[in-house]
Each structure stands twice: as C-alpha cells, then as structure tokens.
C-alpha cells in the first residue's frame, strides 16, 4: 500500500541549494570551466562517455562538473540526456585498422610492423606525486619526429598467415551479417545473448566491475591464458550513409581504445588447436577498460568454444545483468528512499512472530518442568 505523504518540498528545495553551494565551493577560487575539464580531465570525460554510451565530450564534461566529480552520477546524467534526443541513424562500422593511432603496443611481437608506439601512457612513470603540477608551470609541446609512415599491421593478421588464430567470418553469410543482431537501447535483454549484443553491453559496462571480473579470470576463475596481442588508442572516422544524399559522408572522428587479447585454445572435436580472440573496444582513451572487456568477452565465449562454465566471468547472465552501473546504482540506492510502509508491515510481522516465539518457548519450558 502506498500512502501519499507531503511536506518535503521546502527541505528538498533547500537541499538542492545546499548542493549547488557545496558544488561551487570556495567562492574566492575561479569556477572550473567545461573546456578545462575536457582538456585537463580528459580521461574522466572519456570514462563518462564510454559508460553513458554517448560520445559527446562537452556534455560529458558538463556532467562531471554538475556531479561534482562523481563519475557514476555524471554517467547517469549523460544517459538521461541521451533519452531526449532522436536517433538519426547508424554509422558504418568504424575501421580500427585505419586508426590515426597515438599509441599501439603489442605484448606478443617485439618488432612488429609499425613498431611499439607508446603514446601518452602512464606506463613507466614512477607513480610519484609531482609537486610541480600543483602550480601552473609551462609545459613543453610533445616532441615530434618524422614518421616512417609504416602502417600498423594487426597482430591477428600476422598470426593468420600461419592459420594459427581464429579468423573473423568474412563474405556475405549468416556469420557476417550487415546489421547487428539487436540493440540493447531498443529491446529488452534476453539470454542467451549474441556476441554483438554482449559487446554492446560490455562497452558501456562499469570499468571497475569488468576490471574485477577480468582479474578473476587471471587468478584462475575461468582461465583463458591471455596475451595482450595488441592495444591501440587513437581516432577513427565515423561515416554514415545519408539517405538524402545517396552516399556516405564522414561525421568527423572519435577517439577509441581497442584491445585484441590472444588466448590459448587447445581445440575441440570440431576446431583445431589455435589461438582464439577476446575483443575490447571503448569510447575514448581507456586501456584498462578495453583490456578488461577483452578478457571478459573471451570468458563469455566459453559455451561457444565448448569450455566448462565454472566461474562467474563465464556466466553471461550474471556478467551482463550486473555490468551496467546506472542500473546497479539505481537499485542499490533506491534502498534509501522512503520504505516506511513496507517497514511498518515487516515490523508488525516480526513483532507477531516474536510474540508467538515467546509463547512457544514458555510452553516448552512448562512442559519440560512438568516432565522433570
């Protein structure tokens, strides 16, 4: 039973004013601008875009500001915004092989074509806090050198020369459809789920959750023997067929992070021993998320590859149902909302059960005394 109770309006209005006050903080300091967040907290902006599943740096930065840096709140804000917009269409698949890469590393081949390009990485930093950054010292521009212009060959293509890795299905066939099998933003989830839908869910999944699951597979809960075949970060062109023109145009470029995990596979009755692949693709620069996604993608292929499903990371329904942090936070945080009537009902129930329990106890006590 729901009972309408009024009286919170003034408290709510004042709470929101207090939130605005605390968000602004010390008025003697300048207010942080959206442009500053886009430029200087770029990876926070990237995470919000990835998990909100909406590529819009300015809006993601505004969400970070509005949420006072609470990432999941910012993701929630951007998700809510996207529901207000019409869908113009779908792009052609982005070609990550043609990425303008800032970074490309491989843990499987030292000297692969294109080389190991480190890019703007935290790797090899000493993780010592830098007091100089507390000030506003001038920063040099990045060094440059004339590019050899060597294309960045995919690691999968190198292994494919020996036929030692599973290949993507090519050609017009049931395995290579032109369209994805579905869209999570349009249809409710159903299990078992096709791999394309799983990847959509993982791409917007919570980084921490996927990181923990990926870690669990490395520690033995559903081992998949991974190597980071290749990680690349950079910009890809987004092209879309525009019906009124009759041809595809570029909408501009977006930054993405891609991870190809190469996994050992002993083979099965149908498939020869070969390397299999786990795939991660994420909006923005987010190597950790792309790597975790690739680990989890490979784990979730257990059924398809005839492996025993024994670990949480191999359980599709468990993983996909709990990966979305907006859903998760909604359900966890709803517990703080008024449950006065539910609780009254339970309180009444517990009181009655307690009374019955005490009656039973004293009866047992009397019987026992009588027996003695």
């Amino acid at each position: 039973m729901y009972v309408a109770v009024k009286g919170g309006e003034a408290a709510i209005a004042n709470a929101h004013k207090m939130l605005a006050d605390r968000r602004r903080g010390d008025r003697s300091l300048p207010s942080i601008t959206v442009e500053q967040i886009v430029e200087q907290l770029a990876l926070a902006v990237d995470r919000v875009m990835a998990e909100a599943s909406l590529y819009a740096p300015d809006l993601a930065a505004l969400a970070v500001k509005q949420a006072r840096g609470d990432m999941i709140e910012a993701i929630f804000l951007l998700r809510a915004y996207r529901t207000t917009l019409p869908r113009f269409g779908a792009s052609q698949p982005v070609e990550t092989g043609e990425m303008i890469a800032e970074r490309r590393v491989s843990a499987t081949y030292k000297d692969l074509p294109g080389g190991q390009v480190l890019g703007p990485t935290f790797d090899y930093t000493h993780r010592l806090l830098d007091p100089a950054l507390a000030g506003d010292e001038a920063v040099e521009t990045a060094p440059a050198r004339d590019s050899e212009g060597e294309p960045l060959t995919r690691v999968a293509d190198i292994l494919a020369q020996e036929d030692l890795i599973e290949r993507a299905f090519t050609g017009d066939s049931a395995e290579m459809p032109r369209e994805p099998s579905g869209d999570l933003t349009r249809e409710p989830m159903e299990f078992p789920m096709a791999r394309d839908l799983r990847l959509q869910a993982l791409a917007r999944g919570d980084e921490g959750f996927l990181l923990a699951l990926g870690y669990s597979t490395q520690r033995g809960y559903g081992r998949t023997h991974p190597f980071a075949g290749e990680i690349r970060i950079g910009e890809v062109e987004v092209e879309m067929d525009v019906p009124e023109l009759g041809f595809a145009v570029s909408l501009g470029r977006i930054r993405v992070t891609e991870c190809q995990m190469v996994n050992q596979f002993a083979g099965s009755a149908k498939l020869p021993p070969q390397f299999t692949r786990g795939y991660g693709l994420v909006f923005g620069q987010s190597e950790r998320k792309a790597m975790a996604m690739a680990l989890v993608d490979r784990s979730l292929r257990a059924g398809e590859l005839g492996e025993d499903r024994v670990a949480p990371a191999q359980d599709e329904e468990f993983v996909i149902s709990h990966a979305d942090n907006v859903q998760a936070t909604g359900f966890v945080e709803h517990l703080k909302l008024p449950h006065y009537v539910d609780f009254q009902a339970e309180l009444d129930l517990v009181r009655r059960m307690r009374a019955e329990f005490e009656v039973r106890q004293s009866r047992d006590h009397d019987t026992q005394e009588a027996a003695e």
């Binding site: 792009s91 982005v94 000297d111 999968a156 791999r195």
Partner: protein, 155 residues
C-alpha cells in the same frame, strides 16, 4: 556516360567538402566563409537539430558489426533561392556550424561558386586537418621504441 561521370565527380567533390566541414571547428569554417564575401539567403528546410548516431564497431576489429554506443550529431538542411539544397552532418552540438556547412554544401551544388569554395574553404580547411593528423603521427612516432639490440635494415 559523360553526364554520369560528371555527376559522379560532383558527388565526390561534395563528399570531400562535407567530410572536411564535419571535421573542422566552427570558428575556422566561419573565417573561411568570410573570405567568400556575402553568402546567399538560405531558408531552413530542417534543423539545425541535435540527435544521435549509433556508432558501430566490428567484432575483433574485422568481423561482424556491433553497436558500440551513440554519438551526439548535429544536422541541418537549407535551400537557396535557386532551389539548391545543402545538407550537413557533424559530430558535436554546434548548430551554427551545421547551418553554415549546409549553406556551403548548397552553394557547392549550385555550381557557380565551386572554384571559390574550393580555394577559400575546402583547400585551407583540408590543409589544416592534414597538418593536425601529421602532427599526431609525428608525435606518436617520437614515442616509438627503437630496440637497439635489434638489427634493422642493411646497415
């Protein structure tokens, strides 16, 4: 045949213009359009309006498509007095840029000022974009590891 080729060539040119406009910041397009002098009156047909495009990736980078996530896109369509129609689509939420891009696309389709647009808009913006890409590539190249224990090349 000849006519089809011309149409094909013009389509290529329009695509090239639209691609460069989509990739360029609004203030740069403004500056280039100013160099064209006065622009024709353009009636809005649609927008400028902000919407979403579902960005797709490929499974494994080379396989079947999947829905990666959406991107905010602004589009506009305008019609000039001559009847020429221009469209614009670009990532982001810049309505003024979408409208101006649509006007430039319509002027391109009109044909009369194509050489001007090529010289004042397309060429400088394309050069600026190429320079940006080249800078990123050269900066990335500076972070490429030269394993000095490796023998590379003949010398």
């Amino acid at each position: 045949m000849a006519k089809a080729e011309t149409a094909g060539g013009s389509e290529q040119g329009l695509k090239r213009l639209m691609d460069v406009l989509a990739a360029s910041p609004g203030d740069e397009i403004d500056a280039c359009a100013e160099a064209l002098g006065s622009l024709p009156e353009a009636a809005p047909v649609r927008g400028p309006e902000i919407g979403l495009v579902m960005v797709r990736g490929r499974i494994g980078g080379d396989g079947a498509p999947f829905n990666l996530g959406e991107a905010a896109v602004t589009r506009a369509t305008v019609r000039l007095a001559s009847g020429a129609v221009g469209h614009a689509y670009a990532l982001g939420q810049d309505r003024a840029k979408a409208r101006l891009s649509a006007v430039l696309a319509a002027m391109w389709s009109e044909g009369a000022r194509r050489t001007d647009i090529e010289a004042q808009v397309l060429a400088p913006l394309a050069a600026a974009r190429a320079e940006e890409v080249s800078r990123v590539k050269r900066e990335a190249a500076a972070t490429r590891v030269d394993f000095f224990t490796m023998v590379r090349g003949d010398d």
